[in-house]
């Protein structure tokens, strides 16, 4: 099974490239303090230095004379951290709701699905903006807002998976054998539903990173963390004199998100799942 997966994954060139990019970003995130010579918040030089104008500052400086390259490297940490944690939270919520709805069916299903539909009806980004602004921007509120906005599709996917798996023979057998519902959910059904969840999860990390960066761009980011979105936002008013402050962080976001999407597709191929039509 594993070598099958690896083979199918490897056939997708996009996915392989994506994986490589992700590894680079991950390394940057882990080794940030070692790699970046400067603290991203340090005012090390003249403001608005062009890239390559000074040795060692190969991406130039920003409005306060801070090292853009250092900001990029440290920003990787923030993006990945928030992306992973928010996705994990969303998955937790979505799986719980979807599993319960799909497994029990009946009125539980109806109630939970109405609840999910309600959440899905609210425009996601506007909702996230409202949430973060009201509860004041911080890592916690951002993660919570992203999770609250992202969980409905997970719930629907898990529900449909559960609904179809529920009818299978091994579940019937387990019921007859007297296993409790929870045991069945966790040990029988969930492991078989993992593949599409994993694929969806990887795509969700990408969306989470985009969401976080958009929030930071609007000024709703955690002020103690130098994130890529924040760098682009800070560059907005100085666009004319210093294009590099906006271009490089945005490039970093685009590449990371692209890589995650490609890897997600590769996983989808590799695990032989198809998400289309499952989330409606």
């Amino acid at each position: 099974m594993n070598s099958d997966f690896a083979r199918r994954f490897r056939r997708n060139t996009g996915a392989v490239i994506g994986l490589f990019v992700l590894l680079v970003v991950g390394l940057l995130a882990l080794l940030a303090p070692l790699l970046a010579g400067n603290d991203p918040w340090d005012m090390v030089q003249q403001p608005f230095l062009a890239p390559m104008a000074e040795p060692g500052l190969w991406l130039g400086t920003d409005a306060l004379g801070r090292d853009v390259a250092a900001g990029l490297i440290h920003g990787a940490r923030v993006s990945i951290l928030i992306g992973l944690v928010a996705t994990a939270a969303a998955l937790l919520a979505g799986i719980t709701v979807g599993a319960l709805a799909g497994y029990h069916g009946g009125w539980v299903d109806v109630v939970l699905m109405r609840f999910t539909e309600l959440f899905q009806a609210i425009p996601g980004f506007a909702f996230a903006v409202v949430l973060v602004a009201i509860f004041q921007p911080s890592v916690e509120s951002i993660v919570a807002a992203i999770a609250l906005v992202s969980w409905p599709p997970v719930a629907r996917l898990v529900r449909s998976e559960f609904m179809s798996l529920r009818q299978r023979e091994f579940v019937q057998a387990a019921l007859l054998a007297g296993q409790t519902h929870w045991r069945i959910i966790f040990t029988q059904i969930l492991p078989n539903a993992v593949s599409p969840i994993v694929v969806m999860g990887s795509l969700m990390v990408a969306t989470a990173i985009l969401l976080e960066s958009a929030l930071s761009f609007l000024g709703l980011g955690d002020p103690n963390m130098m994130s890529w979105g924040y760098m682009v936002g800070a560059a907005r008013t100085a666009l004319r004199q210093a294009w590099w402050i906006a271009v490089f962080p945005g490039l970093a976001i685009a590449l990371t998100v692209l890589a995650l999407n490609l890897v997600g597709e590769g996983l989808s191929d590799g695990l032989n799942t198809r998400l289309q039509g499952r989330t409606r």
């Binding site: 918040w41 340090d42 005012m43 403001p47 608005f48 409005a63 306060l64 004379g65 602004a133 004041q136 921007p137 911080s138 000024g219 709703l220 955690d222 002020p223 103690n224 800070a234 907005r236 008013t237 100085a238 666009l239 004319r240 004199q241």
Partner: protein
């Protein structure tokens, strides 16, 4: 001004737009002198008193005349008052009022309006006037053109309140019966050089010339359009493309000012702020045990690089502070303990203070990019000196709320010094001004009976030499006690096209100068 809903729907696209939406500039109109100014944020009201925000006051001062104006040396000039005198004991102020002045609705201006303004109207709306009226025993209209104030204690700062910074004169016949506890829905009616023609929310405010203005030949400008432009980059671009001719202080980011100044036909002036003298500092919350330690407070002051802040963040449009008084405030003295930047010394002081790395929450001002950078720089400087600082994020109402309720460790503020220490400075340091609910009083919570006493005496002392001595002493004490983290004296630049002449002719600048400005 409320927009009729049906009109809005019917002409929805037509009314749209935040810049000059639907302003017809016919051939004839182009002959008239039009001044386009950027303004942000939108005023909350254009009725004097109710219009309390900065931008509101900027417009209000051109709609409502006051008794006096102050020139750049803070010397009083006549406006609605032609002559004025103070008794020798400084307990009686007599104002002779100009004759033949009319309100925008045609009714005559008399001493009764002045009495109503001070005795009832501004007492409700203006804290500074309220405090001043605390020293006033009576204000009477001796005849239709003479007003006499009788004080029971001398208040040397009294005259400084008589201009657009604090007391626009309002019409008694319009407002005498208004319920001041509810929002005023009347149109603004003043005696100023301009009348309100139209206010399209989110778009512009249109003032037109008051043809019955009491000064012959003025105003030279026929129409003033205040354009509400929410975005700093858009404001700068509007100026650059010629759509707007004036960018008042605070409406453009500083690197834009530097860039615009280089364009042909453009001037930048820092004049027009002599009265307000904005002063930026860090409140230290004296209720926090950390800040009750003198050495820790001194460490904060030694940690901050004020010259770099003025140069990098304010692009030179700020002067490093030298003590608790702004250098332009009367009775300023430079003979106070100085705190030049010395990171090593700051570290040492921290150690001596017994600082164990407790986190200090820094609450920034959400007034735009410049203030965000200030917060980042302060956090950097403090961290370099060994502090552990965490920036808290809050929007404007949240920040004001926290400051008003003392929910912070360090926070920024900038306060107008208003031309006299009794009026502008005292409220920041005296015990009687320690009240929850306002971000503009003694938010830090410093309390020193000697300082209270000195400020109280200074407010009442008629002799200038003795006053100077009192204030010199209080400055020395405040500096020694490192009461607050004084940062910068702000010199807001006003950017304007050279075709506009005499744009700034008073110590409050554009706020009451448009009547005397002209366009070539």
């Amino acid at each position: 001004m409320h927009i009729n809903r049906r009109t809005a729907i019917a002409h929805s696209a037509a009314i749209m737009g935040w810049l000059a939406a639907g302003i017809p500039i016919t051939a004839a109109a182009q002959q008239k002198k039009v001044l386009n100014i950027a303004l942000f944020p939108e005023p909350n009201s254009l009725v004097a008193g109710a219009g309390s925000t900065g931008p509101a006051q900027t417009v209000v001062g051109n709609l409502y005349d006051c008794l006096l104006r102050f020139d750049e040396n803070l010397k009083a000039q006549p406006q609605l008052a032609t002559e004025w005198s103070t008794s020798a004991d400084q307990l009686t102020y007599t104002f002779q009022l100009k004759k033949g002045v009319k309100w925008h609705d045609g009714k005559p201006f008399t001493a009764d309006d002045v009495v109503f303004t001070f005795d009832k109207f501004l007492r409700h709306y203006q804290p500074r006037v309220r405090i001043a009226m605390g020293s006033v025993e009576s204000v009477k209209a001796v005849d239709p053109h003479t007003v006499v104030f009788k004080l029971h204690t001398p208040f040397p700062a009294f005259l400084t309140l008589m201009d657009a910074s604090s007391s626009p004169i309002v019409p008694r016949h319009q407002l005498a019966d208004a319920d001041l506890t509810k929002p005023l829905t009347v149109p603004p009616v003043g005696t100023g050089p301009f009348k309100l023609k139209e206010w399209q929310r989110g778009a512009f405010i249109h003032l037109e010339k008051n043809t019955d203005y009491h000064m012959a030949g003025l105003p030279a400008i026929d129409n003033v359009y205040w354009h509400i432009i929410p975005d700093a980059a858009s404001r700068a671009a509007a100026f650059e493309s010629g759509k707007v001719d004036v960018l008042p202080g605070g409406t453009a980011e500083y690197f834009d000012v530097a860039r615009l100044a280089k364009l042909p036909g453009v001037e930048v002036t820092t004049k027009g702020w002599e009265k307000f003298s904005p002063f930026a500092w860090l409140w230290m919350n004296h209720r926090n045990p950390l800040f009750q330690n003198l050495k820790l407070r001194q460490a904060v002051l030694h940690a901050i690089d004020r010259p770099a802040m003025a140069k990098v963040i304010w692009h030179g449009y700020a002067t490093p502070a030298t003590g608790p008084f702004n250098q332009r405030t009367p009775f300023y003295t430079s003979k106070t303990t100085q705190y030049p930047r010395d990171t090593a010394k700051a570290r040492k002081l921290l150690e001596e203070a017994g600082y164990k790395g407790e986190t200090i929450r820094l609450l920034p001002l959400p007034f735009g990019e410049t203030w965000t950078r200030m917060a980042e720089m302060v956090r950097l400087n403090l961290t370099q000196a060994g502090f552990k600082v965490e920036t808290v994020s809050a929007d404007l109402p949240g920040t004001i709320s926290r400051q008003s309720n003392w929910d912070f460790d360090l926070t920024f503020t900038f306060v107008y010094q208003s031309g006299d220490p009794a009026v502008g400075v005292a409220r920041s340091y005296v015990s009687s001004e320690i009240n929850k609910g306002s971000p503009f009083n003694n938010v830090g919570g410093y309390s020193n009976p000697k300082v209270d006493e000195l400020f109280a005496q200074g407010a009442r002392e008629p002799n200038p030499t003795r006053r100077a001595a009192l204030y010199a002493e209080v400055q020395a004490i405040l500096a020694d006690d490192a009461v607050a983290g004084w940062l910068l004296e702000l010199n807001f630049p006003t950017v304007y096209r050279t075709k506009v002449t005499n744009l700034v002719s008073s110590a409050v600048g554009i706020n009451d100068s448009l009547g005397r400005a002209s366009i070539n």
